[in-house]
């Protein structure tokens, strides 16, 4: 059997995208939940994530900090989200790790010093995953925080990128991840371009890393454009509805 061709000679990937093209990005800011203070739904291709934000509200006694607010995050991967069904506990290693990554990323994004003695809770549901659910979760959280009106320094945008057949490809789907190449996850502040999240676990040369990194940053910019439009549209709709 011949090796699968991830980028055709004409420059198309298996799902018909160009190497530097992100998947269809769709999102809904707010209106996903009635009782949450902020909510957002994000689709990156077939990967779907839902985020709820509750707060700021009074922190529970044990976690109260006097100099800044407390941020918590809980992630759940739905049992039906992956190709073969698997039930995970709430304390599954993978989801706990993702929750920790998200919490740390947003601790640098939210102006927590404004929320003394208060607590902000984020809940993320991954409903379907076709690669890149970490990036989708971060993007959903960012939009939900905006919807909740939490003060943030800058929008945090996340995207993944890989390196297959001698060229970087962005926003990989599960088939491309299964090829077992490089997978880089970046969370970037949209305006300052500072990196908040970076995850990669392959041995690669600095040149390859730089190429992948640059492609990933460009993809984050594309994603931010889409997210900014969605946020502006929602804000305009809210203004007109008043």
């Amino acid at each position: 059997m011949s090796k699968t061709e991830f980028v055709s000679p004409e420059g198309f990937r298996i799902d018909g995208r160009r190497p530097s093209e992100i998947r269809t990005f769709r999102c809904q800011v707010g209106g996903v939940s009635q009782n949450a203070d902020g909510s957002a739904y994000v689709e990156m291709g077939c990967t779907k994530a839902l985020a709820y934000v509750y707060g700021p509200k009074e922190a529970r006694r044990g976690a109260m900090k006097t100099q800044c607010g407390v941020l918590t995050c809980e992630v759940s991967l739905a049992p039906f989200s992956t190709a073969d069904r698997r039930k995970r506990s709430r304390y599954d290693r993978q989801t706990v790790e993702l929750a920790l990554t998200i919490r740390q990323a947003f601790e640098s994004s939210i102006l927590l010093e404004l929320y003394q003695r208060a607590q902000i809770d984020m809940f993320v549901h991954i409903l379907e995953t076709d690669g890149g659910h970490k990036a989708a979760a971060i993007n959903a959280c960012n939009l939900a925080l905006i919807d909740a009106g939490i003060n943030i320094r800058d929008s945090l945008v996340a995207c993944s990128a890989g390196y297959i057949d001698g060229r970087p490809i962005v926003d990989m789907n599960q088939a491309e991840i299964n090829a077992g190449g490089v997978e880089l996850l970046l969370g970037v502040f949209a305006r300052t371009r500072k990196v908040s999240v970076i995850e990669m676990d392959s041995k690669i040369t600095p040149e390859v890393f730089q190429e992948t990194y640059e492609a990933c940053i460009a993809a984050c910019r594309d994603l931010y454009t889409a997210m900014e439009t969605a946020v502006n549209d929602t804000a305009l709709r809210l203004v007109h509805s008043k």
């Binding site: 779907k48 049992p79 039906f80 304390y91 929750a99 919490r103 809770d121 549901h125 409903l127």
Partner: protein, 324 residues
């Protein structure tokens, strides 16, 4: 049951006085239902899926089918398991109560682990299994592909995203529409002789015959049980029966009766929860009304599903319907 809202004595009194006079806080009469929104075929990676919303209540249901061995004690039956998961934000005693948010901090070790939410999920799952999948509604023999060898394992996963009353009712509607949306792939199992030859060659382990799956989307058969009962929950507030309660009303209800009703208005199963006891004469009336309401509910659901076009899952087709 779930009582998320904490009502002050005055609010409680107001609600109860209203119910005594036949009015409810949202302007409904005691028998009035809130409109439901149903979507099907929303998750392409599952065999069948649906989402049911009714004001604050939001339920997502996904069905996945797997080929597996039939249970040892029932070699000619398939397996159906219902699994309920609650979003952390709706689990009772969860973060809304402020009691146990240590589990939400994302720490690997440490922190108090509160399993009350999981206990509640397990309770809801078992209840739905009893109420909506009784033997009269679901013939598990139809899920067997080849006795002793292959049977379908049907996993029904229900995700409760938001709760604002009528959780069981919404879950049963979601389950009914998701199972109607489900198609079982058509499979052909290799001949028995072939398999036994393999068996002797293998010696120790009993090997299974290979099976082929017809990949064409049109080749599947619909899920055998087409008439999954729906649940109708009635609460007793000040000796009056209130239908389709909001979460405030649920917290005022002394007792709740959930009746599972099939297409013909027959009562399939009954479950009572809550501390107070129920007057038997009133209960008969409740069962009669439940049959009527349930049939109405199923009719509206069928009409809406027919609009979606049977067999072909419609992606992101939204529709609002019914107010019985």
């Amino acid at each position: 049951m779930l009582s998320q809202s904490t009502l002050s004595p005055a609010e409680r009194r107001f609600l109860e006085d209203g119910v005594r006079q036949g009015f409810r806080n949202d302007g409904r009469g005691l028998l009035d239902y809130r409109p439901y929104t149903v979507e099907t075929g929303i998750l392409p990676s599952t065999s069948g899926s649906s989402r049911v919303r009714s004001f604050g209540t939001d339920v997502l249901c996904a069905v996945k089918v797997d080929m597996g061995s039939p249970p040892a004690d029932k070699p000619d039956e398939g397996v159906v398991s219902v699994n309920v998961e609650c979003s952390a934000s709706v689990a009772p005693h969860g973060e809304l109560e402020g009691g146990s948010s240590s589990r939400a901090t994302g720490r690997v070790g440490g922190g108090r682990r509160d399993d009350s939410g999981e206990g509640w999920s397990a309770y809801l799952g078992a209840l739905l299994d009893d109420l909506c999948l009784p033997p009269c509604a679901l013939d598990k023999k139809a899920l067997c592909v080849s006795p002793h060898v292959y049977a379908w394992h049907v996993n029904v996963d229900i995700l409760l995203l938001n709760a604002a009353g009528g959780v069981l009712d919404a879950m049963s509607l979601a389950m009914r529409s998701a199972l109607r949306d489900t198609t079982l792939p058509s499979v052909s199992v290799g001949s028995r002789d072939e398999w036994e030859e393999e068996d002797t060659a293998d010696g120790v382990q009993q090997s299974k015959p290979p099976f082929d799956v017809d990949e064409r989307p049109t080749a599947g058969t619909p899920f055998p049980a087409q008439d999954i009962p729906v649940c109708v929950t009635v609460g007793q507030v000040c000796s009056h029966y209130v239908w389709d309660m909001s979460s405030e009303e649920e917290s005022c209800a002394e007792a709740q009766v959930t009746v599972a009703v099939d297409r013909n208005g027959r009562c399939v199963a009954v479950h009572k929860s809550g501390m107070a006891s129920i007057d038997p004469t009133g209960l008969l009336q409740v069962l009669k009304d439940a049959g009527r309401v349930g049939v109405e509910l199923i009719k509206k659901l069928e009409a809406a599903m027919a609009k979606l076009g049977t067999g072909q899952p419609v992606v992101r087709e939204r529709l609002g319907f019914m107010a019985a």
